[in-house]
């Protein structure tokens, strides 16, 4: 039974020599088989939550805990977290010049599995994953994310999700910047992933659009570094109609 448990997480970033608290006590439990949507206005701290779970060095956890099946995630290095089964699809995937997608994927797969993938099946797997996300096989020879369009970068993130097949996936605005066809392709990828046993998904988004293709079990409203409200899929509909105003006002009080 895989469980990602976030308890009273407080996180700061350092800007101009002063610490600014961005996450102000986040508590959230994701069990395997569940999909949680996190929705909230710009700057509310959604990416900060995602990066903190992944271990980005810029974000300093000041208190609280994050555990995966009881193991202390915060004590792990970035790569240990990935090997423990966490995956972050980034809002802004990073370009790595001169490193081919093929080399990158093979190195990552080898690191996560602890052994090199079998050559013959692996090449097939990579081609299939790329094709399913409507990426031409020639992408394997290109440098990681370099010169990719916004949509191609996002689809490349989901191709990695499928190939690396983690236990818990945090998808940070994977839907933004995608046209409707690309959105469907990405949603199908996420749905293939979560159809497997033992997988959990955190889906960070601004729009209910993607939730029509990936139905969440829970919806959380994220405002000013906290979860302001939680509910089922109907909460998303309500947010679409009413916006975040009432939560933002309440948080400002």
């Amino acid at each position: 039974m895989s469980t990602l448990e976030i308890k009273d997480l407080r996180v700061s970033v350092t800007t101009d020599d002063e610490d600014k608290e961005i996450l102000k006590g986040v508590t959230l439990t994701i069990k395997e088989g569940e999909t949680h949507a996190i929705m909230g206005p710009n700057g509310s701290g959604k990416s900060t939550l995602a990066y903190s779970i992944a271990g980005h060095p810029k974000y300093k956890v000041t208190s609280g805990t994050v555990t995966l099946d009881g193991e202390d995630v915060l004590a792990m290095t970035v790569d240990q977290r990935a090997r423990a089964g966490l995956f972050l699809a980034m809002q802004y995937p990073v370009e790595v010049p001169g490193v081919s997608v093929a080399n990158f994927l093979r190195t990552a797969k080898t690191a996560i599995d602890g052994e090199a993938p079998k050559l013959r099946t692996w090449v097939k797997d990579v081609n299939t994953a790329l094709e399913e996300l409507n990426l031409d096989p020639s992408f394997a020879q290109r440098s990681v994310n370099e010169g990719f369009s916004g949509g191609e970068k996002k689809r490349h993130e989901i191709a990695q999700l499928e190939l690396l097949n983690p236990r818990m996936a945090v998808l940070d605005e994977t839907d933004s910047g995608l046209d409707i066809d690309a959105l469907k392709i990405v949603a199908e990828g996420v749905n293939r992933f979560r159809a497997q046993k033992g997988k959990g998904v955190v889906l960070i988004t601004h729009y209910t659009r993607i939730l029509r293709y990936i139905e969440p079990d829970f919806v959380h409203v994220f405002v000013a570094g906290r979860i302001a409200e939680q509910g089922g899929p109907e909460l998303a509909e309500q947010l679409e109609a009413e916006g975040y105003d009432k939560y933002v006002k309440a948080a400002a009080v």
Binding site: P57, D79, A82, V96, P97
Partner: protein, 394 residues
Amino acid sequence: MTAVADALEIERVESHLHPEGSFEVDDHAVPTGREEIWRFTPLKRLRGLHADAALDGSAVGAEYDGPEGVVVEKLDAGNPALGSSGFVPTDRIAARVWHEARQRYAVTIPAEAELDRPVVVTVTGTDTEPASATHAVINAGAHSRATVVLRFVGSATLADIVEVVVGDGAELTVVSLDDWGDDAVHVGHRHAMVGRDARFKHVDVSFGGEVVRHDTTAEFAGPGGDIEMLGLYFADAGQHIEHRLFVDHTAPKTKSRVTYKGALQGGGAHTVWIGNVLIRKVAEGIDTYEENRNLVLTDGCQADSVPNLEIETGEILGAGHASATGRFDDEQLFYLRSRGIAEDEARRLVVHGFFNDLIRRIAVPELEEQLAATVEAELAKNVLATPASRGDES
């Protein structure tokens, strides 16, 4: 034909890019370090090459391996082949080598010969004292195709001149590989005269040596020539690697591409890249681009990078330059590590990525593997050591 010949009458241009040369040693004062061309160089560590240290050493030997048809011969002082590239010393060290070189030799590729494997000259130093001087002339006959590799290994204090004459329509690649031991000092001068419609690729790889300074200059003997200068260097703690380049567009419709990339690691690692390009009035329709990128891997390193373009005609196809020195990109590291890749492996991927396109452009298959392996070995020295284990060592 006369029109072209007339057009090629080169005017004198007042510019610090090409100081008046002289073969007379006494015309070149002993540098003090304040001169523009010497201000980056640690003169104190040159073991007197720039002053009056004897250059009569015999601690440097050359071995030659190459396909049939290539002629390698010793030259006596005064042989007309010496200077056939149009080389004129513009500093004291070059003038001294001109007069005092103990070994002078020529590598000649006959016209229209197409070599099926590289000519390899391995220069091996056995001692840093006394200093030595050599003078080589590589001549690629018209329409020939060849690759010449000069490999420098061992210990030495060496000042040398390598002249290159690329015949009309020839395609020549010269690879200079400084793979010295840690105690070598090497001041090299290279000059190429590139013929009509000829292609010249110069690859300068510098890994080893305590102080390495290369002045590499090139000009065109006729229109349509193409020069590509590629450089790859890796400076470790205390190492000084300096490249001074000058492409003189002396003919119309010529092209030059200069790309140098370097990595620095360890306290006192210092690299210098001076990229000078002059586009003369006659050089209409030319195209040039020069680029230098440095990757700083640790604290305590210094990378100086000065591109310099002088344009005397507006009738050109293109002219540009770029220079950038950056630290290791933490976002790239984070991205790779977030996919499970351990830190040392991630660093290695990023550095290989940095050099990758350059190594591909060198396009000498016999060397590619060796270069990748050498980069790997350099990385193993430092980058792969995590900050923690680095602490353990000290």
